[in-house]
Symmetry: C2
Subunit: 400 residues, 2 copies
């Protein structure tokens, strides 16, 4: 079977073939924000396709939330209809009139973030951090293989890719053992995959692993910027706070789960066996290949398929106590690191807490980020018809 | 000087004299939610007072957020005008037509919660928990006197007083050292005071202690329900998560900072001296006297004035890394406990982790909460004219 093709030209290597159709929010020059779908190097104004209908009104807003709230049946219908429009000739004039060149539009934060949760689901990452911080103890704490460890982050400082990140100040310990206030000296990244909740759940009703795709609409790339020195001083006993809360960047495109159907893989073997509420009936591991670039140079290729807990298991755990989901909830995997040294998703791992600085192509070295550095994370996945499904990128530049 | 009085009758001992005027959201029978102000045993429909104006439109909604976003000048104007209407005779007919008996209206969550942060600011509480959990170590960790320790909680499960709280299930360790899933056996309360952000701040711009009242509109009572066994198993190394995220109750009335002017006191002596960004130019400790009732019986009287860090210091710390504030942000003090055994704001402290159960007037004992138990927390404060300013209460009943 040959790959389905759109009559909209899709350049070789584009992350956005017609098998992808990720959703975002864009403004054309002089226009208001609205929902669009990326195809090749264009964006299709989805609000215009349904102009005059209630769905069109929900798409003619500055966030995906009203569309997300419509639920799985509607997500499938819209995707199917857009696929038909972009592969068939029937309404080519309508579509062409509403295609905008991607390089001419402004991309916005694609959804209003309700609650933001960050997990810690990569075994290699948790092991690396355990070794760095507790060299004399067990690398993994006793609960780690029993449940997806996670915590709540700050939803109000989630920003869209491209937003500059100001180096945060904070309290940390000086070499004399006295705390002082100053800009972080250990600004780091965390390459993560985030999951966007569309359909809410009711208070008191856990969401089973099998209901994952009824609630989660799609995935984004996340860079969970981290100030390691602030984090180290503040985090006992209640966890990370200001070391993380200054900024979390997400990609402008939300890739729907439907586009990731061919990327589904079983999670790695889980031993001990998870409790029944964490068992997966069908696999929701995802074969996403991430790539981290620092000032253009690839510094890491974290494989998401090595993540110990699947996003369906994270969701089941997050709701097992009856905590309800809201449209716009974002939960991220935690740093994605593979077992190899060149698959680590944070600088604290790549440089082993600064001991082994990275050497960049320009000859400079980095233990942690310098002012002016730009970090860009991309990912792609196997899609239908042997096509690669891309996420675009999440990038940010450090301001002093 | 005699106390200002309203012509609306205020019963002896009412928490809501005209010196208070707390804001909430209510529905009259058959009517839509709108903003109201409590006076005696009535609620004045504030949206009707400004009907036909943009302010009236902002008050004719199901949350305080649009009013809160207007900022400090507008908060002062509305309070002044309501005080005039309720103490003077000029527009008595307008006011009377829009007074509703409190026992006939439905009270709603007063504001849409943006981010929810929980601090750990009571020295007695942090010391008690340190003694319970680390009997052989220092009760307070080294960072505790240097910065207000805090973490993010789940905004989507903040509920209004009166909402029943279902006993959460979760993963915890059994006596055999194996984890299992089951309803918590150690359901607890945390009596706290919460602060509601009205005016947002800009990303990258810390909010100084002196700007506290420019951003924070007022205070609520908070019960941060906690499942201690779930929390104990999950919280290393990233802090509390499911042990807290199932429900957090807040009082329906937001008491404006202006009503608490006479409750302001210096915080207890802070040694070592806080870093300059945490210094208070003017005192924002608050002399609030809390009272915790379990099934009607008073079990504790936590004094908020003993809290080590003031809410202005918490705000300055929370934003020192440039994290921005949004309208509707809620941050709570953490459990309020005084130095005496009968001033502890949680059962884990009152019963010393279950070792010394409470005996209730009906002869029953409680180490932690039983199904059907009702917890109600109230507070009052010195107000203008020697009057007491009340918070009403935050209450909830445990469902199996």
């Amino acid at each position: 079977m040959s790959a389905a093709r759109s009559w909209v030209p899709v350049p070789e290597g584009s992350p956005f073939p017609v098998q992808n159709l990720p959703y975002g929010v864009f403004s054309p020059p002089g226009g208001a924000p609205r929902v669009g779908v990326a195809i090749g190097d264009r964006v299709l104004d989805a609000s215009a396709v349904w102009a005059g209908t209630p769905l069109g009104a929900d798409l003619a807003t500055g966030s995906l939330n009203r569309f997300l709230r419509r639920g799985r049946g509607e997500w499938a219908y819209v995707r199917r209809r857009l696929t038909d429009l972009l592969t068939g000739d029937g309404q080519r004039r309508l579509v062409e009139a509403n295609l905008h060149p991607l390089d001419r539009v402004t991309l916005h934060l694609p959804f209003e973030v309700a609650d933001y949760v960050d997990f810690y689901a990569s075994e290699a990452h948790a092991t690396n951090l355990g070794r760095v911080f507790r060299p004399d103890g067990e690398a993994l704490l006793p609960n780690w293989r029993r449940l997806p460890v996670g915590y709540h982050g700050r939803a109000g400082t989630v920003v869209v890719s491209g937003t500059p990140v100001r180096r945060p100040a904070g309290q940390r310990l000086g070499p004399d053992g006295e705390p002082f206030l100053g800009p972080t000296g250990r600004l780091d990244i965390e390459a993560e995959v985030g999951f966007v909740v569309g359909a809410p759940s009711r208070p008191g009703e856990p969401v089973a692993t099998g209901a994952f795709a009824d609630h989660v609409f799609g995935a984004v790339l996340v860079n969970d910027w981290s100030a390691r020195d602030i984090q180290a001083w503040e985090y006992q006993p209640l966890g990370p706070f200001l070391g993380k809360s200054f900024a979390t960047s997400v990609s402008p495109w939300v890739v729907p789960l439907e586009a990731l159907e061919h990327a589904r893989v079983p999670v790695p073997p889980q031993d001990p066996a998870p409790l029944p509420y964490l068992e997966e009936k069908e696999p929701w591991g995802l074969d996403l290949q991430l790539e981290v670039r620092l000032n253009g140079a690839v510094v890491s290729r974290p494989p998401f398929r090595t993540t110990y807990w699947s996003p369906a298991q994270m969701l089941a755990h997050m709701t097992v106590n009856g905590a309800s989901l809201r449209t716009g909830d974002l939960y991220a995997s935690g740093t994605v690191s593979g077992p190899s040294a060149d698959e680590r998703g944070s600088l604290i791992e790549l440089t082993w807490n600064g001991r082994d600085p990275l050497r960049l192509p320009d000859g400079s070295e980095r233990a942690f980020l310098a002012d002016g550095d730009t970090v860009a994370i991309t990912a792609d996945a196997p899609g239908a018809d042997g096509i690669r499904i891309g996420f675009g990128d999440v990038s940010g530049t450090v301001l002093p």
